[in-house]
Symmetry: C2
Subunit: 242 residues, 2 copies
DNA sequence: CTCGTTTTTGACAGAATGTCAGAAATCTTC
DNA sequence: GAAGATTTCTGACATTCTGTCAAAAACGAG
């Protein structure tokens, strides 16, 4: 049957409502504060009903992560499809990454939580595969740009160093920086002036170190930053900065 | 009284034994697998006794993290006190960081867990301060080397960019990379050849990007790497590679 | 050996998870 | 629109863990 009965429609809606409530609870009081009881109570259902949708609370958490990760991949895809030389397109991905993490400040914490807190083992094979898929899609987009850079003659990688190795480097620095920013209050107290700016500069200098042309001395990537926000991500920009 | 009674001695010993067992449980089955029951059973005490030492399991986890973080700080201190130009000493810290994470593969996962999973709020003020202290000591060591580099004339930082910002960059990339390595099986399947090598190269190229002399084209930091392991961390090297 | 002190114990209350048989709602067919 | 088939929902239940605390046991000084 192609059209859904009202009931089926309601069930589908409920799934997203569960995720919404779960997200708020997770934001407010973390993993320990997220309980099936609380979700059920908030939505006015019994616990059993929630268990019809998700077999355990870990499934809810991973579902959450997959959703936002796919949004991220979409933003990356849009960034990758801009025009310009490869390193400029990579810079657009940097914009996407930063906007994304500002829209979903908790995403990396949740992702790390899934990977470390023995949550992984309790989730379904299906969702785990969805998560892997989303992840490798993201990597593939960035790796594609690196290959473009090489094909263009803008970049030559060292021996024993694959495009994926470079993607891993960029992944590390963003994952690490955004995790630290999200979880460590008082970076300023440690003497860090503007962590967001630091990440941008860091990535630019790293790519300079790999001699990826045009170097940041030849092209002002940080200035391009503002422009890209307006041109490629107007909707996200509005959500974030009014 | 200066000398401890046998009983007091036993209590003190027990504390470290609790942490040992907790560490194994944490390694084996993660945060969810760590239970006060299991620890008590394994050591042959009742739960109440364990609660005399640690008021909740979160306290055990943070105690764990503080212990290993202090070991890390010690290794950093040893690395920082080597001779050579500032960037070479920073390279020695890179060796320390990598050896450390290979000795304690779970450390960063635990650290992230503490920060994200609402564990932080359940821990005592005293331990939280100990954790902050350990962290800023580590940062201070690295920041000191950055300042040495500037004082030496080997490094000039961009405007609006403090030594601590550079430390934050290095912290991000190591934290991110080691977290990913520890939690993501099958990096090789993603096309990453040797993540450890990638991190080293990444950091060297980043510092090149900041024009920190001597550049990696002038001095072979990767070759120095092997040497430093033997000279500064023979004990750790033995533990790791037999 | 005795008595005050410290330490240990395990029963208990509370909170959350995940299950499942029966109740309720919904859909199908005539 | 009513009966019967099917799906969905419910809340009581068993279980597992946490954290507490009064009573019991072990300890140490004199």
């Amino acid at each position: 049957m192609s059209t859904l009965t009202p009931k089926q429609q309601e069930i589908r809606d409920r799934e997203t409502r569960i995720l919404e409530v779960a997200r708020r609870l997770l934001d407010d009081s973390g993993y320990l504060g997220l309980s099936m009881d609380a979700i059920a109570a908030e939505l006015g259902y019994s616990r059993g009903t929630i268990y019809n949708h998700f077999s355990c609370k870990e499934e809810i958490i991973i579902a959450q992560a997959i959703r936002t990760m796919n949004q991220r991949t979409n933003m990356f895809r849009r960034a990758a499809s801009t025009s310009g030389r490869p390193r400029q397109r990579l810079s657009a991905i940097g914009v996407a990454a930063e906007l994304f993490v500002r829209l979903h400040p908790d995403h990396f914490a949740v992702e790390q939580l899934i990977r470390s807190a023995s949550i992984w083992d309790k989730t379904s094979e299906k969702r785990r595969r969805a998560m892997h898929l989303a992840e490798s899609q993201c990597m593939a987009i960035v790796a594609g740009i690196v290959r473009d850079g090489i094909a263009h003659g803008d970049l030559t990688l060292p021996d024993q160093f694959s495009p994926e190795d470079l993607v891993f480097c960029l992944w590390s620095v963003t994952f690490g920086a955004y995790s630290i920013i999200a979880t460590s209050d008082g970076l300023e107290a440690h003497g860090v002036l503007d962590p967001w700016y630091a990440v941008r500069l860091n990535i630019n200098r790293t790519l300079d170190g790999f001699q990826w042309e045009p170097l940041s001395t030849e092209f002002d990537y940080l200035a391009q930053f503002e422009q890209l926000i307006h041109d490629v991500f107007p909707e996200e920009q509005r959500q974030l900065f009014g």
